[in-house]
Assembly symmetry: C2
Homo-oligomer: 332 residues x 2
């Protein structure tokens, strides 16, 4: 099933294959603040190049979340501290999971002046910034496209490559739960399990394990859980002090808003994250019944109907009061 | 792929098909305290019978968790309050997801004296209590086997049946995360998504939505989170008073122990659930590094290496002290 492609996409895969075959040494990069798909795609591309007898270096501005350190070769990704002393400048680079060139960040320092780029990405906003572009916005994850490229290049899928692909699929589909979980995603996952991937261990490692900072933050956020009078709005808040005392990284607040949104009967869930005494970042999530993008826009922010965000320049209690009132008006 | 079966299993499917074809009116039952697979299997079997032009009644002793009420026909499952007044006594019954006859509970009141049973189940401990038995213990869920039976009977898989099967797969694999998530499970899920199942909405409904009681309990449990000195043991506790004030049902405490177990660096996670002033139920969960079944046994309980339980007849602080000390000794 993954060996027959629509012809326009197959042409892109063919161009990528030629790009790789015609060269010997590559830099593989992804976006700064990498997520599971960015890291998995970087490492999966490394596996693919190695199988094709090519040499390569992987690099990422970082920071790389600790929970992906278990992936083989994750430790050899060149990081920010190693960039300036790195001896190589690359004439051929492969950017994975980057919607535009800016997202690559500082690892572009390793590009030679005439560096030619192969751009492999699934973002609908991709700017086709490469000399060769492989873009399929209905792919759930970029790693799904790298799996397809490996199949197209007749690269045998070893367990290392399979683990990378499964990890990227898991993280970009929220464990096969988001709406991007297509039949193709499930069929690829089945093939990877056939190859020996321990899906249970990967899910545990990448989706379920929480750092002490994350659990400390969840504890504090839930202690703050509050509801509007009609229980249609629920919110949690974390103060700047709590963020500091738990040692939380930026991504550690990611799932908190869902605890508010996922409560039965709640139409809008909110997370208030205090950045400083007069700045609060707000995440808004809604069920089917509400569109939160307009609310975020009213506060100078933006986003989608179900997920939006804004910043409020006020104290935490003032920010909560303002946003909850606005959401209440929108719901009524 | 799901149309070719090992011959011994195909014989069982054939016997089930004959059982259904040879009769016209059926009672479909599952186990008391039904979970997602029990309910989905009951309703999926109803769909299958309807497609084959048979009449049927579904029944369950209950209680049926509210979160499955969205499934079509869930409301027509005959419940405990309706049993004694039900006019029918059934000569043919189909038990789904029941390891033994006792698990069927009080709905057996609806069996005629000479009632013949078709037993469809995936539990390794199944006692083959039916006149016809379809048992495959490597199936992730009983609903997976009902899907196979539907295919075997050439029943067209409509969206209602597909939704039931996807729901049962989701709940019995923990959202495609447990070790029972086989390649076959993923291929069936792919087929169901092809048929129009909205996997995202089903996952939201059955796995992510929390009742006010559940979130209230999680809040209180996390507030109690504590660690051993070496941070290899983490535990949460809920008091009898907290269980009462949140209005928590028995199943609402189910996932709490995982919050303790899933913390980075923790080898054993514990949940202490106070039943009364002198009784505490303990759930023990471990990572790869520890076997908790022996610890549970030492307290008169039992279970598996990774998941076990016991009851301690002591106050809550005493129970915590005793079990944590024993786990500490086992780990060192």
């Amino acid at each position: 099933m993954s060996s027959s492609f629509p012809s326009a996409y197959e042409e892109q895969l063919q161009a990528a294959k030629l790009f790789i075959e015609a060269n010997d040494h590559f830099l593989v990069v992804s976006h700064l603040n990498p997520d599971g798909d960015a890291i998995s795609s970087t490492l999966a591309m490394g596996c693919l190049l190695r199988c094709l007898g090519k040499s390569y270096v992987t690099a990422n501005e970082g920071p790389i979340p600790d929970k992906f350190a278990f992936l083989p070769e994750c430790g050899s990704i060149v990081d920010l501290s190693q960039l300036s002393s790195h001896p190589d400048r690359f004439a051929k680079a492969i950017a994975v999971d980057c919607a535009d060139r800016e997202r690559i960040g500082q690892t572009q320092q390793l590009f030679a002046a005439d560096c030619a780029l192969l751009n492999i990405d699934h973002h609908v906003t991709n700017t086709r910034f490469g000399e060769v572009n492989v873009v399929r916005s209905d792919a759930a994850a970029t790693v799904e496209m790298i799996y397809e490229l490996a199949r197209y290049c007749n690269v045998p899928i070893d367990l290392e490559l399979a683990n990378c692909v499964y990890t990227g699929l898991l993280t970009d589909t929220g464990g096969f739960r988001y709406a991007n979980t297509t039949p193709l995603v499930m069929r690829i996952a089945a093939e990877l399990l056939d190859l020996g991937v321990q899906g249970n261990a990967l899910a545990q490692q990448t989706l379920e394990t929480m750092s002490p900072a994350q659990i400390g933050l969840l504890q504090r956020a839930l202690a703050s859980l509050a509801f509007s009078a009609d229980k249609r709005i629920a919110w949690v808040a974390v103060t700047a002090e709590q963020l500091a005392e738990t040692g939380a990284a930026n991504e550690d607040t990611d799932g908190l808003v869902n605890y508010a949104r996922n409560i039965e009967g709640v139409d809008v869930g909110l997370l208030f994250k205090q950045k400083s005494e007069r700045e609060v970042k707000v995440s808004l999530r809604s069920s089917d019944h509400a569109d939160v993008s307009g609310i975020a826009q009213a506060f100078g922010g933006g986003g989608h109907a179900r997920a939006a965000g804004c910043s409020i320049y006020a104290s935490l209690p003032e920010a909560i009061e303002q946003v909850v009132r606005k959401v209440g008006t929108a719901l009524s």
